[in-house]
C-alpha cells in the first residue's frame, strides 16, 4: 500500500535559509509562541506569522477558507476574545471561534481543526503548562498538521517552554512602537520583540518585528523607504493624495 508523501516533505525540500526572515517560502506546519498573558502580543504575532505564511504559500486569488481560533477558558479569562473590528480586514469575515472549557477540549478542537481540509490555518491559545499538553499531545498535533497540510500556531500564555515537537518555537513580548507619522505621542503600529529559540531549519535569533498594514516586517528595516507607511494605527496617509513634486496649482495648468 503506497501513500503519497506528506505536504511537509514536498514543501521543505528547498535548501533551508540559515537565517529566518519574513516572507520565506518554507513555512513550518506547527509553531509555538510563548507570550505573557497580560498582553495580546502572542495572538498578534501568531496572526501576523499566519498571514505571512498564507501569503507566501498561496498563489493568486482570494483565499476564502476559514480560519479557526481555539481558546480555552483560562485564556479567555486572561486575554479576552477576538474583537471583530480589530482583526485584519481579510480575516475578520472568515473566523470561526471555538471556546473550549478545558485544555483537553482545546487540544481535541485543535486536532479536529487540523484534520479539516476546508481550513486555511488554525490558531490556538492555551494558558500555562497543563498536564494534557504533553510531548505526546504536541507530537499528535505536529503529525496531524503535516499529514493534512493545515498550519497551526499555538500561543502559550504564561507558560514555561517544556518539551514540545513544534518545528519553530518563538518567545514574544510587546516592544515600544515606532512613533506614528501624524501624532508622535500616539501608540504606533503593533511591534514585538520576538526570539526564535528553537527551529529545525533556521538558526536561533532575535528580531524586532512590526505589523505594517497587515504585513509582517522587520522593524527599522533599512530596505523600507517609508517604515511605518501605514500601520494598524489610524495613520491616514492613504486618504491624503500625495502631490509628487508638483503643487496642485501646477497640476491644474498641466
Amino acid at each position: 500500500m503506497f501513500s503519497k508523501p506528506s505536504p511537509a516533505r514536498v514543501l521543505s525540500c528547498g535548501q533551508p535559509e540559515p537565517r529566518w526572515r519574513p516572507g520565506l517560502n518554507a513555512q513550518p506546519f506547527h509553531s509555538e509562541i510563548f507570550a505573557p498573558a497580560g498582553e495580546a502580543s502572542g495572538a498578534g504575532l501568531a496572526l501576523a506569522l499566519a498571514r505571512d505564511a498564507l501569503a507566501a504559500v498561496s498563489g493568486e486569488g482570494e483565499d476564502t477558507r476559514q480560519v479557526m481560533w481555539v481558546q480555552d477558558r483560562a485564556t479567555i479569562r486572561q486575554g479576552g476574545r477576538p474583537c471583530l473590528a480589530g482583526l485584519p480586514q481579510d480575516l475578520a469575515h472568515r473566523l470561526i471561534h471555538v471556546a473550549a472549557a478545558t485544555p483537553e477540549d482545546a487540544l481535541f478542537a485543535l486536532e479536529e481543526g487540523l484534520k479539516c481540509r476546508d481550513l486555511a490555518c488554525v490558531i490556538g491559545e492555551i494558558a500555562g503548562n497543563p498536564r494534557a499538553l504533553s510531548f505526546t499531545a504536541s507530537r499528535r498535533l505536529s503529525l496531524a498538521a503535516e499529514r493534512h497540510g493545515v498550519r497551526l500556531w499555538l500561543v502559550r500564555l504564561d507558560a514555561a517552554p517544556d518539551l514540545s515537537s513544534a518545528r519553530m518555537r518563538w518567545s514574544a513580548r510587546a516592544a515600544p512602537s515606532a512613533p506614528g507619522r501624524w501624532d508622535a505621542a500616539a501608540p504606533g503600529p503593533a511591534t514585538w520583540q520576538a526570539e526564535l529559540f528553537r527551529a529545525r531549519s533556521h538558526a536561533p535569533g532575535q528580531w524586532s518585528l512590526c505589523d505594517d498594514a497587515g504585513t509582517l516586517r522587520l522593524a527599522g528595516d533599512p530596505d523600507l523607504a517609508q517604515p511605518m507607511e501605514s500601520g494598524a494605527a489610524p495613520d491616514l496617509v492613504h486618504l491624503a493624495r500625495p502631490t509628487v513634486g508638483r503643487s496642485l496649482a501646477a497640476r491644474v495648468h498641466a
Partner: protein, 563 residues
C-alpha cells in the same frame, strides 16, 4: 373550492356504529359547565326535536328515549386533517378550515375532471362513497367559495371574473339534491328563494352582485359582530355593501355604505370582527393567507432486538445499521438530516433519548455513527436494551453528490461542516461560533456570536480611522489610577496587581450611551489608546465625566488589548 362537511361528527359516529343504532334518536353531547349540551344529532334525533346547542335535559323533555353519545372534537379535527390531505386529489393544495370545512385550490385542474360541474359532482360522489355529507362550492376566492358552500342555494359555482362563457349554476345543485334537502332541514340560515333568482351569472359580472342575497353570516364573522349587524337591521350581504339584489347600479350608495362600515368598525383589526375586511377578502381585493396542509412523514428507522443488549460493542453495530438505514431513507427523499434523535427502549420500561444537531444537512452514515458514539458513553443499559429507534426530526433538501472515493476522508481531511459537528457534539452547541458585527457603537455590543455556517447578516463596513484592539475582555476590568496627567489621563495605573507607566496616549474617543436602550443614568465613555513603558498597548476608558450628575468620581476601566 370549499367543501363543507355538513355533519362531520354525526357521519363519523354513524360510520362507527350500526344501522340499528342510527335509527334510534341519538345526540352527540359535550360536557359543559351547565351540564351536557348537544353538539349534533342524527336524523331521527333531529326529527325528535334535538338541536345543536340544546341542553340534553331539555331535549330529553321533548323525546325521553333520546340516546346520548359523547362527541369527539379532537377526533373530528384529526379526521378533517386526513380528509384535507385526501382532498388533494382534486387540486395540489388544500387547507383546513376548522371545525368542519376544507379549502382546495383547484385552479387549472377542472379540465382533468371534465369541467367544473363534473368536478363538483365528483367531489360530492366521492364524499358520499365515504359516507360523509359534503357541500362543495367553487369560486375565485376562498371567502366566496366558503360563503357559497355554507349558504349558497343553487349556483355552487362562480366562474372566474374574466373569460369563460355562461355557467349554468343549477347544474351542480341537481346532483346534490338529496343532500341539499337534508342540510336544509338542519340548518336554518339558508334563506328562502329570492324572487326569480335573477339571470344566470354572466362572465365578468361582479361577484358581489351574485352573492348579494346571501346572509351576512356567510362572511365568516364572529357572533357578536353578527348580533350587532342584526340589531342594525342588516341581514343580507347586499345591504351591507350597499348593492341591490340585481340590476340596479348605484356607485354613490355603495361608497356610502362602505364608508359607514369603515367608520363603525374602524378599530377592529381581526378579519373575523371586521365585515369590511371580510368583504374585501371575499372579493379578492385583500389577500387572505391560508395555511396549507402538507403531508410529511418523519424519516424513522428502528430495530427490535431479539436479545436485549447490555454491552457497548453490539450497540455500536446496531447504531451503524440504523445509520445506514436512515441514510437510505433520506437518500430516497433527497433529504439530509439536520437533527437526529436516537431512542433506546430498555427492558425495564425506561426510554433513553440522545439528540444531535448538525451544522449542515448530512447523509453520511459514518459521520452520524461517529457523532452518536460520542454521546453513548454515559448510557446505562440496565437489564438490556430491546429496541433502538433513530428518527430525523428535522431534515433539509440535499442533492445527490459524488461520494467520497475510497478512503478520501482519511487522506484529504474532513469537510468543514463535519468538523463543526464533531466539535459541537463534544464541546457543546454554543462553543463553536462566528463573530458577526452588530449595529451598535458600544464595543462589547458591536459584535455578537452566531453558529458558524449561518449566513452573515449585512453590516456597515468598519470605519478606517477606528483603531480597535485585537482582543476584548469579556468584562471591562477596573484599573486603579495612581497618578494622572493634568488633563485627567492616567500616567501610572495598576492593573491585575502590576503598576504600569503610561508612555504614549491617544484620545479621547467619546462613545455616548445608547439612550434609546439604556437607562438615563448610564455614563458616557472616553476611550484612550495607551502604550506603557514596556510597549504593551491597551484600550482603556473613563466611565463618565466629573460633574455629569450621573455618579461620583468617574472610574477607569481596561477593556481591550492591542496586538
Amino acid at each position: 373550492m370549499s367543501i363543507w362537511l355538513v355533519r362531520l361528527s354525526v357521519d363519523r359516529w354513524r360510520r362507527a356504529s350500526t344501522p340499528e343504532a342510527d335509527r334510534a334518536p341519538t345526540a352527540l353531547i359535550l360536557e359543559t359547565a351547565h351540564g351536557p349540551r348537544i353538539t349534533a344529532a342524527n336524523d331521527a334525533g333531529l326529527a325528535a326535536g334535538a338541536r345543536a346547542g340544546m341542553l340534553l335535559a331539555d331535549a330529553r323533555a321533548l323525546c325521553p328515549d333520546l340516546a346520548a353519545v359523547p362527541a369527539d372534537p379532537a377526533g373530528d379535527l384529526a379526521a378533517l386533517e386526513k380528509l384535507a390531505v385526501w382532498a388533494q386529489r382534486w387540486g395540489p393544495w388544500s387547507a383546513l378550515d376548522p371545525p368542519d370545512s376544507l379549502l382546495v385550490d383547484v385552479t387549472g385542474t377542472a379540465h382533468l375532471f371534465g369541467g367544473e360541474e363534473r368536478l363538483l359532482a365528483d367531489v360530492a360522489a366521492a364524499f358520499a362513497r365515504a359516507g360523509l355529507t359534503a357541500r362543495p362550492a367553487l369560486a375565485p376566492t376562498a371567502g366566496a367559495a366558503w360563503a357559497l358552500s355554507h349558504y349558497g342555494r343553487g349556483g355552487a359555482i362562480i366562474p372566474p371574473l374574466q373569460g369563460r362563457g355562461t355557467t349554468e349554476g343549477g347544474g351542480g345543485a341537481s346532483d346534490r339534491d338529496p343532500k341539499a334537502g337534508l342540510s336544509g332541514q338542519r340548518r336554518s340560515p339558508l334563506h328562502p328563494d329570492p324572487a326569480g333568482r335573477g339571470p344566470p351569472p354572466r362572465a365578468g359580472e361582479d361577484m358581489l352582485r351574485l352573492l348579494a342575497d346571501l346572509p351576512v353570516a356567510a362572511l365568516r364573522l364572529d357572533d357578536d359582530v353578527l348580533t350587532a349587524l342584526r340589531r342594525l337591521g342588516i341581514k343580507r350581504m347586499g345591504e351591507l355593501a350597499g348593492v341591490g339584489g340585481a340590476g340596479e347600479d348605484d356607485a354613490d350608495r355603495e361608497a356610502a355604505a362602505r364608508d359607514a362600515l369603515r367608520r363603525r368598525f374602524r378599530n377592529r383589526h381581526s378579519p373575523a370582527a371586521n365585515p369590511l375586511l371580510r368583504l374585501d377578502q371575499l372579493l379578492g381585493k385583500v389577500p387572505e393567507p391560508l395555511l396549507p396542509v402538507i403531508a410529511r412523514a418523519m424519516p424513522l428507522v428502528q430495530r427490535r432486538l431479539m436479545e436485549p443488549l447490555r454491552h457497548r460493542t453490539p450497540l455500536d453495530t446496531v447504531l451503524a445499521d440504523l445509520a445506514a438505514d436512515m441514510v437510505r431513507v433520506l437518500e430516497a427523499r433527497g433529504h439530509g438530516a439536520r437533527r437526529l434523535e436516537l431512542a433506546l427502549w430498555r427492558v425495564d420500561g425506561e426510554v433513553l433519548q440522545r439528540r444531535i444537531e448538525l451544522a449542515a444537512a448530512t447523509r453520511e452514515a459514518a459521520h452520524i455513527t461517529r457523532l452518536f458514539a460520542a454521546r453513548l458513553d454515559d448510557i446505562d443499559a440496565g437489564f438490556g436494551i430491546e429496541m433502538v429507534q433513530l428518527r430525523a426530526s428535522w431534515s433539509e433538501p440535499l442533492h445527490l453528490a459524488q461520494a467520497d472515493l475510497d478512503a478520501a476522508a482519511e487522506d484529504h481531511g474532513t469537510a468543514l461542516a463535519a468538523c463543526i459537528d464533531r466539535l459541537g457534539v463534544r464541546l457543546g452547541p454554543r462553543a463553536v461560533t462566528r463573530p458577526v458585527a452588530r449595529a451598535s457603537h458600544i464595543p462589547e455590543r458591536a459584535q455578537s456570536w452566531q453558529p458558524p455556517l449561518e449566513p452573515v447578516p449585512a453590516s456597515q463596513h468598519p470605519l478606517a480611522f477606528h483603531a480597535r484592539p485585537l482582543k476584548l475582555l469579556d468584562r471591562p476590568e477596573p484599573i486603579a489610577v495612581l497618578h494622572a496627567a493634568p488633563d485627567g489621563v492616567p500616567q501610572r495605573f495598576r492593573w491585575r496587581g502590576q503598576v504600569r507607566e503610561v508612555a504614549r496616549v491617544e484620545g479621547p474617543e467619546r462613545i455616548a450611551p445608547e439612550w434609546w436602550r439604556e437607562r438615563s443614568t448610564t455614563r458616557l465613555r472616553d476611550y484612550y489608546r495607551i502604550e506603557d513603558a514596556a510597549g504593551r498597548r491597551y484600550w482603556i476608558y473613563r466611565a463618565g465625566l466629573a460633574g455629569d450628575g450621573r455618579g461620583g468620581v468617574p472610574d477607569w476601566f481596561l477593556q481591550g488589548l492591542y496586538a
